[in-house]
Symmetry: C2
Subunit: 104 residues, 2 copies
């Protein structure tokens, strides 16, 4: 059986995005970060809602109009469509694992 | 920020189902088990696909035609629509936490 915490990439230059399941209107994705953050000049701006759950490691997330907040294991939130947002930091001492549900 | 592992019920007679987000065609749910299993004479039989991820504790899941398998933290699978299935056991030494995505 597949496991969300297996084959976690380490020492990779970019975050890893892995699609776990795709259905009409929804996509489940695992994201693994290793200290990366979203470039200041290239924030995310998505046309769809995204629900994220942090499961391992830690991160900080900035959402335009809402400010920055710290996330630890188990924290989850909805990033509304068209909300400009950035991951401002992720843990540097091991992989940070996210589950993302995209409603598209 | 809400956390998936906060307010975990203990010593409850029934499993707890908590809706985290509902959208047209999809529903995200937290399930907490404390030793419960699905009654032999009342297996699940859903008209929609369900994707489940076990995050804490342990469980065994039987799916008709596929057999029984053990799940630990991080294990995930798709339970196809119309697959008769049962949770045959869940950990008795602490809460078992599932994330379920229902595609309805």
């Amino acid at each position: 059986m597949p496991n969300l915490f297996e084959n976690l990439p380490l020492h990779i230059p970019e975050e890893e995005f892995k699609e776990l399941l795709s259905r009409p209107g929804v996509r489940i994705e695992r994201i693994v970060s290793n200290g990366q953050s979203t470039p200041l000049d290239a924030p995310y701006h998505q046309a769809h809602d995204e629900w994220v759950l942090l499961l391992r490691g830690s991160a900080s997330l900035w959402i335009d109009g809402e400010g920055e907040r710290d996330l630890g294991p188990g924290d989850y939130l909805l990033i509304p469509a068209h909300s400009v947002h950035r991951v401002t930091k992720t843990a540097t001492n091991g992989p940070t694992v996210w589950l993302a549900i995209h409603f598209r």
